[in-house]
Symmetry: C2
Subunit: 525 residues, 2 copies
């Protein structure tokens, strides 16, 4: 069965870019790669050149004029159609994603479902908008000056470049959250396919292609450019026709692209979601009563996707003593039994390995446990280590994210030291506070300190598993994200690709439908 | 009367900075200046040094921890108290503003009223929030995974640096829109006083000081640093404790500061409102029927504040012919009768004069009229010139803003050329389309092209006079502003200084009051 589906993938993909409705480009630049077998796959892909980038952007600019005129319901139908087409093609898409990412089949199937749900959430939000429309009606009698009729709405900002993420080859890639939210806002999208899953990107693009045709959308509303060199990325974000960028990836690459966007003759917003250590603060009473259970939950969460979640809990902060020793003992036992696994790419594996090696060689850091020895060098082990709060606080190195299944347990002398860590945290996507309700009530200062450094503050739950809903925030103070005012998950993610416009004294007959008198609740404030 | 009030100003001001509740600094760096008499005033002011900037930022950071804990109603009371104190001190404030800016007394009085109204609008918005709260309640039964309780709110982002604008010494300065919206959001503010009205800044700061004491606010919630060198500005925006910047001023200075903010180790939002030419598109039928009236309205608008409004209409686009010639004839007659006037500063006057001289020397540009000859070199004249659409389109120079009472009439051959201008416009704060309803209905393409290049599209009204209300947008695509997603006028301006936070599974008793079950309308989407 899988072999036959793999053959279907092979017979479908061309390795080309999808630009303005056509498959184009010389597919001989780089190969897809299987990180589990540590060998290249047969599929070959193209590297976009300047002419191809120009063509994709020009098509997006042209499509923008037509796409922005589509009604919210037409855009919703388009998003729903993409979800439908993904479901129809789920067998080949998940087969490719499984082979290219090494993520288990059940995971990539679940992730495809989430990707479709995201698309449908934006569609639902377009059908039933959440935000009030502000209308201040005219008052010609007002003294000393008459009041004009003003009505506030939003416009899409223009063609958006989206960078697929290695760790979510579906939900944060070609038809993932950034693409879905930009399309929902009315913006054409050019995806720079992640070189770790180019076949998946092509197959997803083929599903989008079918939705474009089915919904009679302009051809340039979505393009895919493939590439395995940084040059493709810099050409894309530097192009004058690109009006915003969505990115999920490393701080290093994210900052380079953010700086390019800020330095353009016309600067544009750069939405980079750059990961974090997602600290787990464990209060004393719950640690005493639940040490073993908490340790098991921590290990389960930190090995999800072999630790390659943006929300993987990489730091645990608790007060040292017998209870924490029990927690650590359970953690050691649980981790020691875990097998080594492949990571998403050889580069991520070697980076993880060298970061773990450096951690374990650091002064004052003591190994708690590692998983079972790898039989091959491309497989990596879950790892936990312990360090004193003083050592942690004095080392920016120890506070950095290690992307993978690694956690550092920070042992505090007292609650004051825990508060210091919370206060001095770098910006994080999430942090969790574990505590019984009574001790939480006595930890207001800690809760406040944590809240001001994170995008999502969680109580007694693990951070992995980001709910896609209206009240989600996935972002946080820098360096968790490059724009803490926005979220990359949930319906509010659309707002990244809109900007306000005020219509003053516009004749009723010409107003956009959603601003006409019949559509708005006129409020005289 | 005025003399005695002037004496009150003199006996009140010290020329110092206001930092953490204290007046401090050596007031011997620069003098206040009267642009009408073109002579220095007696009042001397200090230039902030690095230690003083550090002190102000440290005080703001410390105040942030207390101020952010104040309830929305407490913040509203504080904003109302600032408005009250401004009204109490209006005689000395407006006397100083009139002497320093050269703006007529009636104008600075009106602007003080607007400044108070702005403060009260934010206070009212805090008392009755406009935006829905998103709450997705828990669903432990959901398969395959239970749904956590998530609730979305906002947090203030931290200490904000505000740069006063020369052209609105009250409404966009010390207690102006940026300060009011940052304080409303829960952020302490450090104002860099504009060197063109330092006495006004000090007197307004003294009113804020009284409100701080009256409302028992932390001392560092507001500081004023004076300075007449660029160094003060760069020290302030580069300080690691500053979390956002509000700025109104020139593209040149705005871009320098924006680039500094983007290049920081931790980049921060820079909200620069950088002005625009606010084009006036006049359709054929209304031009034929209303040429004289339209020309008079244009001149009235472009000479408001001697053309020193961000929204001053500096470009008029119409189709050439008899009607436009009538418009130009009326304009010529009206402008020729106007006196020369002082500008806000000698620098603005000489810049205006050299830009007008360059304009009139440009190829294909023909003078329509200038106001009466100035008796002194610091006084400048209203000016209008005409140019063909082809010449205008081929010269980026002609498309630049000339800050002051100058307008360029662009003569198009036909409607297609007018559409080309609308499409190729740089980002603008506003543009107006003048037309009878029937011809507007036939100009959908023009309306759409204009809308996508402006923050506010106006019909049959002039852009000067920005309403302070919920539905206002004052901003626009770059270079009109550095962040087209935001407004610097109206209640939505608060959002520039907030960022979202998601509370997941937080015990009901610990939730912020506005997220508790009793406060929110729980919607299960």
């Amino acid at each position: 069965m899988t072999n036959s589906v793999t053959n279907d993938v092979t017979s479908t993909i061309t390795g080309q870019h999808f630009i303005n409705g056509c498959w184009t480009g010389d597919a001989n630049a780089f190969n897809s790669f299987n990180p589990v077998t540590n060998t290249p796959l047969d599929w070959q892909f193209a590297n976009a050149n300047q002419q191809e980038i120009d063509k994709a952007v020009k098509a997006a600019q042209s499509a923008f004029c037509q796409y922005r005129a589509k009604s919210p319901v037409q855009r919703a139908d388009f998003l729903d159609a993409i979800a439908d087409e993904l479901q129809i093609d789920i067998a080949i898409i998940t087969t490719a994603a499984n082979l290219e990412s090494g993520l288990p089949m059940a995971r990539v199937q679940g992730e495809t479902g989430r990707t479709c749900n995201q698309l449908r959430l934006f569609a639902a939000t377009l059908r039933e908008p959440l935000d009030p429309k502000f209308v201040d009606v005219a008052n010609p009698e007002r003294a000393p000056l008459p009041k004009a009729d003003t009505r506030l709405s939003v416009l899409p900002i223009g063609p958006v470049a989206v960078f697929g993420a290695s760790n979510f080859p579906l939900a944060f890639s070609t038809a993932g959250g950034d693409t879905a939210s930009a399309l929902a806002a009315g913006c054409p999208v050019i995806v720079k396919g992640h070189p770790a899953h180019p076949a998946t990107s092509e197959l997803v693009s083929r599903a989008i292609e079918k939705a474009i045709i089915r919904c009679d959308m302009p051809a340039g509303v979505f393009s895919l450019v493939q590439g395995a060199t940084p040059n493709v990325s810099t050409m894309l974000v530097s192009h004058s026709g690109i009006k915003a960028v969505g990115f999920t990836g490393s701080l290093k690459v994210g900052r380079i692209l953010a700086d390019l966007c800020a330095a353009r003759p016309v600067p544009i917003p750069f939405y980079g979601e750059l990961g974090s250590t997602n600290p787990q603060f464990i209060l004393s009473d719950i640690l005493a009563s639940n040490a073993e259970k908490l340790a098991e939950t921590q290990v389960q969460s930190m090995i999800m996707g072999h630790g390659q979640f943006c929300t993987s809990p990489g730091v645990v902060i608790a007060i040292k003593g017998a209870a924490l020793n029990r927690y650590i003992a359970t953690m050691a036992e649980t981790i020691a039994a875990l097998p080594a696994s492949a990571m998403l790419t050889p580069g991520i594996a070697s980076s993880y390995q060298s970061q773990v090696d450096a951690l374990l060689k650091s002064d004052n850091v003591e190994l708690i446990a590692q998983g079972q020895s790898a039989e091959a060098s491309h497989l990596t082990c879950p790892t936990a280590a312990r360090v004193s709060a003083q050592a942690f606080l004095s080392s920016t190195q120890l506070q950095q994210e290690i992307f993978g299944p690694c956690a550092v347990i920070v042992e505090c002398s007292d609650a004051a030291e825990m508060l210091t860590i919370a206060t001095e945290l770098e910006g994080q996507l999430t942090a969790t506070i574990h505590g019984h309700e009574a001790e939480l009530a006595q930890s207001q200062q800690l809760i406040e300190a944590v809240a001001f450094n994170v995008g999502r503050i969680i109580f007694n739950q693990m951070p992995t598993g980001v709910e896609v809903c209206h009240s989600m925030n996935h972002g946080g103070p820098y360096p968790a994200s490059t724009d803490s005012r926005t979220t990359s998950v949930g319906s509010q993610a659309m707002k990244r690709f809109e900007r306000p416009i005020c219509y003053q004294n516009m004749p009723e007959s010409l107003l956009p439908n959603d601003l006409k008198n019949d559509s708005v609740k006129i409020i005289n404030f």
